[in-house]
């Protein structure tokens, strides 16, 4: 194994700018959507006083969770000392930052008063996990940026390992914080579960890695740089383990709930009779996001095809969005128990009369805002790799794998 060389992303300028303009359209559409929503007020969205968090939050949480997971590749290299992952580390750090920026933008631009962001940055209630998250998110960006510096500046290389360790611990805290946003909601039956925090951590491993593999394949393919089969094989096997992990936590979460009588209602809603939420749970979360990718990843034939690996990653991401959708919106659509043992037979729109779930239909501006967040994350990544030396010239197995031996 020779020394790793990094070089800027060298695709032709027209292609590069074409991609940026394409992504820019999504970002512009998101911008227009935000101005529209903030000017008119949130009534133009699908969000109401019953479903208070909608599609923007699905995208935002998805991106934030994926961000911390994207750092995993770097952590495996620095913290766990796997040499083959080290060349992958700078991109991992970059992607972690850009995904987080994309997610936070969506989250912040959906606020009722985005113009008061300065208030959120200066006034804190430290009993709120949200307030902690503001520190966790900004701290994450600073730490990962420093971590990137120690990787990319030769003189600072000695600090890579401790910084990598700090970043690893911090990302665990960050995802714990994100999961706890839901875990700490005592009133709602779908939340209020400590398992949310570790489940979000495994979700982040899975979504982040899927995003990472897709970006590597996309960027290397376009630039004509090699990616070794051995390396890709490692990454997709790791993804398989994470996908299985998410399924395991999903199973644990629902089985625990099923044991507790008071939670039978919410379980029936998600698993059996919740309409769109039940469909998205089984089709999106379990099949598209879990079983199908697992089948592809561990299929002896399909798993050797790069197209199928990319498809598996895409499925994991779609399944991830589905999972966050079921958690956030399904969790609110289920009528929380205000009068245990009683049924509300008459009430206002705030009340689930006769147990009817609350309805939610995503509006176009919300979806555009969410997609804009993803476009923003990708665009920032592409600009980053274009300007700075994030990408190894070659990810061929003989270049990166210390244990590589040419097959006989």
């Amino acid at each position: 194994m020779s020394k790793i060389h990094y070089r800027e992303w060298g695709i032709p300028s027209p292609t590069y700018w074409g991609i940026l303009i394409f992504l820019g359209l999504f970002i512009a559409a998101a911008g227009v959507s935000v101005l529209y929503m903030e000017h008119m007020g949130h009534w133009v969205t699908g969000m109401t006083n019953q479903i208070v968090w909608g599609t923007p939050h699905v995208f935002a949480v998805f991106l934030i969770v994926a961000a911390s997971g994207a750092l995993n590749v770097a952590s495996i290299g620095s913290v766990f000392g796997k040499k083959v992952y080290k060349p992958l580390a700078p991109l991992s750090g970059l992607l972690a930052i850009t995904l987080l920026v994309g997610g936070l933008l969506v989250l912040v631009l959906d606020l009722g008063r985005p113009d008061r962001l300065i208030v959120a940055m200066t006034t804190y209630n430290f009993k709120s996990i949200f307030a902690w998250n503001i520190y966790l998110y900004t701290g994450f960006m600073v730490i990962v940026a420093t971590y990137l510096f120690t990787m990319m500046e030769r003189k600072a290389n000695v600090y890579t390992k401790p910084m990598g360790f700090l970043a690893f611990v911090w990302r665990l805290a960050l995802t714990t914080g994100t999961g706890s946003i839901f875990g700490f909601l005592v009133a709602r039956q779908a939340y209020d579960a400590a398992v949310m925090a570790p489940m979000f951590i495994v979700m982040s491993f899975s979504f982040g890695l899927a995003f990472y593999i897709l970006m590597v394949m996309f960027m290397y393919n376009l630039d004509g740089r090699p990616v070794g089969d051995g390396l890709l094989n490692r990454l997709k096997n790791l993804l398989g383990v994470f996908v299985a992990g998410v399924l395991y936590f999903t199973l644990a979460y629902h089985l625990t709930n099923l044991y507790v009588t008071e939670n039978h209602g919410v379980e029936a809603f998600i698993l059996l009779n919740g309409g769109v939420y039940t469909t998205v749970f089984w089709m999106g979360e379990v099949i598209i996001g879990g079983l199908l990718p697992l089948a592809i990843i561990f299929h002896p034939g399909l798993s050797q095809s790069r197209c199928w690996i990319a498809a598996a990653c895409l499925l994991v991401l779609l399944g991830g969005l589905s999972k966050v959708f079921v958690i956030i919106i399904g969790g609110q659509a289920f009528p929380m128990s205000i009068f245990p043992g009683m049924t509300i037979v008459e009430g206002s729109v705030f009340d689930a009369v006769n147990g009817q779930p609350f309805s939610y239909a995503p509006s176009l501006p919300e979806v555009l805002l969410g997609l804009g967040g993803i476009a923003m994350a990708i665009a920032a990544t592409l600009v980053g790799v274009r300007m700075l030396k994030f990408l190894p010239v070659s990810l061929a197995d003989e270049a990166v794998d210390p244990h590589y031996s040419a097959k006989p």
């Binding site: 935000v34 101005l35 903030e38 000017h39 985005p114 113009d115």
Partner: protein
């Protein structure tokens, strides 16, 4: 109705103009001077709740200080309350209807328009005296 874009532009202009604006108010009393004339209660009074010069520069300190006391602790000293500002400084038109203090050329808008700093108070607070806003409902 102000769009977020407008608001953002205003915030930026505020940052740029706040120094300039302060100087402007200190050197010319034209905008505010016109606005207190006429049918506003303030017109009949010798000075505001503090000396006029002091008020021109520091009224926001008073309002913001009492804002937190009022919301958090229920202190509603009439004298320094925003409601009192509006009560005293709102003009009435020929028909005796109160004119919002944020209307063009009126007490708040006069200066704030001049320095391009939109007061955020009135996103939530009434721009007419309390006696009038109950009648509006």
């Amino acid at each position: 109705m102000t769009s977020t874009l407008h608001r953002l532009v205003k915030v930026v202009s505020l940052a740029l103009l706040v120094g300039l604006g302060a100087t402007a108010i200190a050197e010319t009393d034209a905008p505010a001077g016109k606005a207190v004339e006429g049918s506003a209660k303030a017109n009949a009074l010798k000075s505001c709740v503090r000396p006029t010069d002091w008020m021109r520069r520091n009224h926001m300190e008073l309002i913001e200080h009492q804002r937190d006391l009022t919301v958090r602790q229920g202190v509603r000293v009439q004298k320094d309350s925003l409601a009192n500002c509006i009560d005293c400084h709102a003009r009435h038109d020929d028909k005796g209807q109160p004119v919002p203090v944020t209307a063009k050329g009126e007490f708040c808008q006069g200066c704030h328009g001049f320095v391009a700093a939109k007061p955020s108070c009135f996103q939530c607070h009434s721009t007419v005296p309390s006696s009038a806003d109950t009648a509006q409902r």
